[in-house]
């Protein structure tokens, strides 16, 4: 008789109690984001060889051993999720930006550039019909002004949007930097723990949440190393390696409207092609500048052509060679010429006076008629419309249709990738998520096992007690 039996049961009590603890930890974290459920891995203890009373040696079990705490996590599913998460993040950000731009251009409503073009051509017709009237001249000037002013307003809003993307980038990159720092710190703690043989489930969970976030922000990819640390890449740059981490630095170069980003370790420019930051960078550096260029090309070409015709014509003072629009350098730097603002008589509605007359006739609107023809002239080509030559109206339509297509596409992509990301996340949760029913069932199992083990101890205790207290006492 030895105390080995009690020892065996003691191991059972401890194992079941610890298992209950872990179950409790799971239940407490049932709603924690990014939590991977844990379970105690129990193995039978090393058997010892004893001699049976029948003469044969046999192996006796020594109870239960707590082998390790398992963390339920699937690296492959993590990788799948993060790939899709990056794309979902990109298209979400991209779509938000494009919808913003749709609202700025505001077509096909009665508040966009289209209606201002319509208004302008109506004013040209009225000027052609009644060139001698002061109100038609003033209407012509006002509507020409309203057209270029609204274009300039659209540009201003696009610039402001661009600045907001820049500011958002700065914010998100601050988040990125912080996450990189924390991943490196966790790397250190995890490698220390696993070197000592510990399992570090909760620390790994924390690191995985950061890695999920990094994938959404910038499409970060990772590789796991044997020591338990992870290396992180962003756009083919290694940014975390064990305890070393890179940070993104920012600066405003003189004369630049936006911030420039660099990786501090290599000094290379930080470019982001996917994730939320990727979307912001694309909007800031490609999409908005493209549309600013389209808008500028359209209004500038239109204004210069009208100016060409206007210079050919004569004002009521019989002077020609004046511009209607003041066209300056820089995007959308176009407004009504200050001379025309001063005096609407100088609007060149007429053509050269026919000899023997030397002064312009009040009712001469032949130059207004020529201006009207510009409406149907194919004055724009290249860039947005490639090798074709199109009218200003066609160009406006093409520009807005392209925006609409891009917006529609990005919305569809966002919905598709978000769905894929959700599905991948469901698969992850299927492996790592806490199911309360499951935990309750396990809890009952361990409870019963604990109670049973306690009972067995009592029985063994009684048996030993019998030997110690009651053996050798006869007839007392």
């Amino acid at each position: 008789m030895s105390f080995g039996g009690i020892n065996t049961m003691r191991s059972a009590l401890q194992a079941n109690q610890r298992s209950l603890q872990i179950i409790g930890h799971n239940v407490a974290n049932a709603n924690t984001a990014g939590y991977s459920r844990q379970a105690m891995s129990l193995v039978a203890g090393e058997p010892v060889t004893k001699l049976l009373s029948g003469g044969q040696p046999a192996q006796f079990g020594t109870g239960v051993r707590e082998a390790e705490i398992i963390r339920y996590r699937n690296d492959f599913l993590d990788r799948q999720f993060r790939n899709r998460n990056a794309l979902a993040g990109f298209h979400e950000g991209f779509n938000i930006g494009l919808v913003q731009m749709e609202l700025i251009f505001n077509e096909p409503t009665e508040a966009g550039l289209r209606v201002r073009f319509d208004d302008f051509w109506e004013a040209v017709q009225n000027l052609n019909n009644r060139p001698g009237d002061l109100d038609t001249r003033i209407q012509f000037r006002e509507r020409a002004g309203a057209l270029v002013d609204h274009a300039r307003f659209v540009y201003k809003q696009l610039s402001e949007a661009r600045q907001s993307y820049d500011t958002n980038m700065i914010d998100k990159i601050a988040e990125l930097n912080s996450s990189l720092r924390q991943v490196a710190a966790l790397n250190e703690r995890i490698t220390r723990a696993t070197a000592g043989g510990q399992s570090a489930g909760d620390l790994e969970d924390r690191r995985d949440i950061l890695l999920d976030n990094l994938s959404r922000l910038a499409g970060a990819t990772i590789s796991k190393n044997s020591l338990g640390d992870v290396s992180v890449w962003i756009d083919n740059q290694i940014v975390v390696s064990n305890v070393m981490y890179a940070q993104v630095t920012q600066e405003r170069l003189p004369g630049s409207e936006v911030t420039t980003f660099h990786w501090d370790i290599t000094g290379d420019p930080a470019t982001f092609t996917t994730g939320e930051v990727g979307a912001l960078q694309h909007l800031r550096d490609a999409t908005v500048p493209d549309y600013v260029e389209y808008l500028d090309t359209m209004i500038r070409t239109f204004a210069e052509r009208i100016n060409e015709v206007h210079r050919d014509g004569y004002g009521l003072d019989s002077v020609s060679g004046r511009n209607l629009f003041a066209v300056g350098p820089g995007p959308l730097n176009i407004a009504i010429d200050p001379l025309i603002l001063q005096n609407s008589d100088w609007i060149a509605a007429a053509k050269a006076p026919e000899p023997p007359a030397t002064t312009v006739s009040v009712g001469d609107s032949r130059n207004a008629w020529d201006m009207l023809q510009v409406r149907d002239e194919a004055i724009l080509s290249g860039g947005l419309v490639g090798t074709r030559s199109v009218t200003a109206y066609d160009y406006l339509r093409a520009m807005n249709t392209l925006l609409g297509i891009q917006s529609q596409d990005s919305r569809r992509n966002q919905e598709a990738y978000q769905l894929q990301a959700s599905q991948a996340n469901d698969l992850r949760m299927s492996v790592s998520g806490v199911s309360l029913d499951e935990e309750m069932t396990k809890m009952i199992e361990h409870q019963h096992a604990y109670n049973a083990a306690a009972r067995v101890i009592t029985a063994l205790d009684e048996a030993i007690g019998q030997v110690i207290d009651r053996m050798g006492i006869v007839g007392r």
Binding site: A30, N31, L98, V99, E102, L103, F105, N106, E107, P108, T109, R114, V115, F117, D118, W121, E122, Q125, N128, N129, R130, G132, A350, E354, A357, S361, V362, G363, D364, S365, R366, W369, L372, Y393, L396, R397, N400, T401, L402, L403, G404, I405, S407, Q408, R411, S422, D426, L427, M429, S430, V431, G433, V434, S435, L436, D437, E438, M440, T441, I444
Partner: protein
């Protein structure tokens, strides 16, 4: 596949969100009557809407121009008709005055009537339409004709300019007839007839008949030109009516909400939403904990 409580809750949440989004979309469509509110809602339909909206505005302008032209054509035709009638009366008087047996007093009376007709012709040629001189060409602020009764000289103060107005695609019509298109003899011939009558030169009066006929012909020809404009206006008007019907229909097709379809969709989504709510409420709450002692 292992299903956790979290997965069920997520799924219910996402589905409810999607249904709410569809409800919001249907509501917006029904409230605005439009399916295209921004270009991304349907890029090619949006492009059509842009084109049709501009087309409608252009059509509006053409119709305004047509109404304007109607006024000009009516005034011009009226003036030319009046001149035709006046010249025909002058012709009658000239024939009378060419009779050799006319008395001096009778010829005197005839000459006074001829003078009156000449002055009437002058007044007609100097008419205005909507504040602009009718026959002065581009010089709309200037009296078209002066006639010096002492010397019999006609002075045209206007120019040969015409103003075009657009009434359809590539369809342009001049609004005015410049005075330079009228016969230069318009007033002189009557003056000479009156002079001859006062001189009792009935032979000379008779000879002037040819010139009166020439002036009459030129006025009639000019009236015919204006008549052609009136015809083209008629055609353009009926075409504009067709275009407008067409455009309105195309706009409806591109962006209009079919209310029957929208209401059906609203019903469907409503039912789906309520069902999802009920089902969600039933599957999320219960766990094993509720049943354990």
């Amino acid at each position: 596949m292992r299903v956790t409580t979290g997965m069920v809750a997520n799924s219910v949440g996402t589905n409810l969100n999607n249904l709410r989004r569809r409800l919001a979309r249907v509501e917006t469509e029904m409230a605005t009557g439009k399916t295209i509110l921004k270009m991304g809602d349907g890029p090619s339909a949006g492009s059509e809407v842009l084109r049709l909206n501009t087309g409608t505005r252009t059509l509006d302008q053409w119709e305004a121009n047509m109404n304007d032209l109607n006024g000009w054509v009516a005034s011009t035709e009226g003036a030319l008709n009046h001149m035709t009638n006046a010249l025909q009366r002058m012709r009658e008087l000239t024939i009378q005055g060419s009779t050799a047996s006319m008395s001096k007093a009778a010829l005197e009376n005839l000459s006074m009537e001829v003078d009156a007709i000449r002055e009437d012709l002058l007044a007609t040629s100097n008419q205005k339409h909507a504040g602009y001189a009718l026959f002065s060409g581009h010089k709309i602020d200037v009296k078209a004709f002066d006639f010096d009764a002492a010397t019999g000289t006609t002075t045209y103060n206007g120019d040969s300019g015409t103003t075009l107005r657009e009434i359809g695609p590539g369809v342009n019509i001049a609004s005015n007839v410049p005075g330079s298109d009228l016969s230069s003899d318009l007033f002189r011939v009557g003056w000479e007839v009156a002079e001859a009558m006062r001189n009792e030169d009935t032979a000379a009066v008779g000879n002037l008949l040819t010139r009166i006929d020439q002036v009459l012909d030129s006025v009639i020809t000019t009236r015919a030109v204006v008549g052609v404009r009136a015809n083209r206006l008629e055609q353009a008007k009926s075409q504009a009516v067709d275009s407008r019907v067409n455009m309105t229909m195309l706009l409806e097709q591109a962006q209009g909400v079919e209310f029957e379809r929208a209401i059906l969709e609203l019903k469907q989504v409503e039912v789906a939403y309520q069902t999802a709510l009920q089902v969600g409420a039933r599957i999320i709450p219960p766990t094993l904990v509720d049943f354990m002692r």
